[in-house]
Symmetry: C2
Subunit: 326 residues, 2 copies
DNA sequence: TTATTCTCAGGAAACGTTTCATGACTATCT
DNA sequence: AGATAGTCATGAAACGTTTCCTGAGAATAA
């Protein structure tokens, strides 16, 4: 029963009006009342729906936004996807999803495919500066590529500062900053900068450890073992640049017989929540994922693109997750 | 520097050939070698890319598949999204993502939007029978709507049986089947059927508790408390229809001072993994998400649609996650 | 050599919209 | 009353492809 889709021409014939009139009705433009009624009746009767390809061909506009993310495996990414979808949907845009991991980590190929698809814009969390052509508006998440590529991110620096302040308020006297990540620089690196600056300002001694491209917290075991005095760690506070790391550090400390938060308090970053009860995995600096998503969409769809800032940092907040005293 | 996209006409002029020839080159059809070379050079020179809207207008084909999921919050859904994306990408299809939650739970509206978008097919995990028009191929996940709507699901019944067999093998003498979910029936309901049948076949007494539309496991507290004898539960094995429930039940049992897996062994269903270490939250029956995704895509893109089965159940497996003895 | 078939590039029509120029008609002004 | 301005539906052109028909030339057969 694959009845052929009816076209504007059919509607026009049915309603006894001209093609252009139907078009104006469909697009909600000024049309005489009598005509509007007739056309709407015909549309209803024929079950007419606009053909987005014909429209796209004429208007060069599609109402589709490409969203490029690394994967769906990390809650931060999937929740970004969710929130971006929400924001887009509210504005009657569709979301085309591209996952770079599924492309064997080849972001270039991904972007090439995006470009082929004539989307109205791109929201991308990518590591390489792949989107250097400016024919399609691009908003970058968490990665600053330069003044002509708008970037939306959490206030990572401020988050680091906040973590330092909290640890200080919780009574920490000597703290440690832990960082693992990839070599490609990103906005998120500022977390550690903020934390260390914060500690300095507060007069709290802070050690700084960084490892590139490792997974797990095992690389820190040595350091911990060397800094035990009478079974106690010389640190009473640890800042981790991600919640994932914080979780792993906590496990590592458990192995070493160090209690959290009694002996050491840990603050992570991201604000990842358990899927089963919505609680934080650890005490954390919460990234405002919903705001990030909404802001990206906002900036992308903004009429006046000259008004778009090149970097926009959104405020983070403190989330208690049991790895600090409060 | 928004240089206008060049068209086939431009390429034809540049190469000194006819429009149709360019089209044939682009689509990899039979073309004389000399012409092909010229055209390819021109394409390269002008950076020509086909306009998907013009093509879509002519061919009524888009290479876009709509994927409808409830949300991205549950790992099962996000991992489905990930795997479907992977399968689609491998075949040069794009994925347009629709989340019904973001639409205030209104699946109808979602499907309406999908239909407007002229996609080549739909893969949907929906609860209502919303897709009754057969103009666009539809594959349903986990929900059987009738013989003309192909459905892909895990072998839920077999999974229930498997859980029963495992609990038996692990020495359980009296077990409990727990179910929570929504009133709308789904393939997943067969989990409990399979479990109970399995218990009967094995001669293990099994109680059966079901609650509609509750969240959390608290509703089972009463039942547990009434079935304590000397601080011990009369059950030594519990089957939960989802991992989420299993996790919540474990916590509930912990509150009641019952040890898992020493006193009671628990098996969940889904095979959800922790994002931080990839381990299961609980011992579980694993749904083959990757196979489900691949199968959906396969069936959707199959040339001969008369060959598509109306229900296809994929084998599940047992995953140890610490809530059983092994 | 001439007639017949085959191969393959050229060119035009069509897909379903949007938009622009045209002209019919009404309303306002002098 | 006649001229001018304003409103608004009409119809055609254009968007960038695909596809089908035509015909030119090559290859084969007689």
């Amino acid at each position: 029963m694959k009845k052929a889709m009816s076209t504007m021409k059919d509607v026009a014939r049915e309603a006894g009006v001209a093609l252009g009139t139907v078009s104006r009705v469909v697009n909600g433009q000024q049309v005489g009342e009598e005509y509007r009624v007739k056309v709407e009746a015909a549309i209803e009767k024929l079950g007419y729906q606009v053909n987005p390809y014909a429209r796209g061909l004429k208007t060069n506009k599609t109402n589709i936004i490409a969203v490029i993310l690394p994967s769906m495996e990390h809650p931060y990414f999937s929740s970004l996807a969710q929130q971006i979808n929400l924001s887009l949907t509210r504005r009657d845009y569709q979301m085309m999803l591209f996952l770079t991991d599924s492309h064997h980590n080849r972001e270039d190929e991904c972007v090439r495919m995006v470009r082929q698809n004539k989307v109205d814009g791109i929201i991308g969390l990518t590591y390489n500066a792949v989107h250097l052509s400016d024919d399609i508006p691009f908003i970058s998440i968490d990665r600053y590529f330069g003044p002509n590529v708008p970037c939306v991110a959490s206030d990572n620096y401020g988050g680091g500062r906040l973590a330092a302040e909290r640890l200080a308020a919780l009574g920490c006297k000597k703290v440690l900053s832990l960082w693992t990540g990839s070599a490609t620089p990103g906005e998120a690196d500022k977390r550690v900068d903020g934390f260390i600056t914060g500690c300095n300002l507060l007069g709290i001694p802070c050690d700084d450890l960084r490892y590139v491209d490792v997974d797990g917290a095992d690389v820190f075991r040595d350091h911990f073992q060397k800094h035990l005095i009478g079974g106690k760690l010389i640190y009473d506070g640890i800042f981790c640049n991600t919640d994932l790391l914080a979780i792993q550090v906590r496990e590592l400390l458990a192995e070493l017989g160090i209690r959290v938060p009694e002996d050491v308090q840990i603050i992570g970053f991201d604000g990842i929540r358990r899927f089963d009860n919505g609680k934080f995995y650890c005490t954390t600096i919460i990234q405002p994922v919903d705001k990030i998503a909404e802001t990206c969409v906002d900036m992308l769809l903004r009429e006046d693109r000259s008004q778009v800032p090149s970097l926009l940092c959104l405020p983070v907040s403190y989330g208690f997750g049991g790895t600090t005293k409060e």
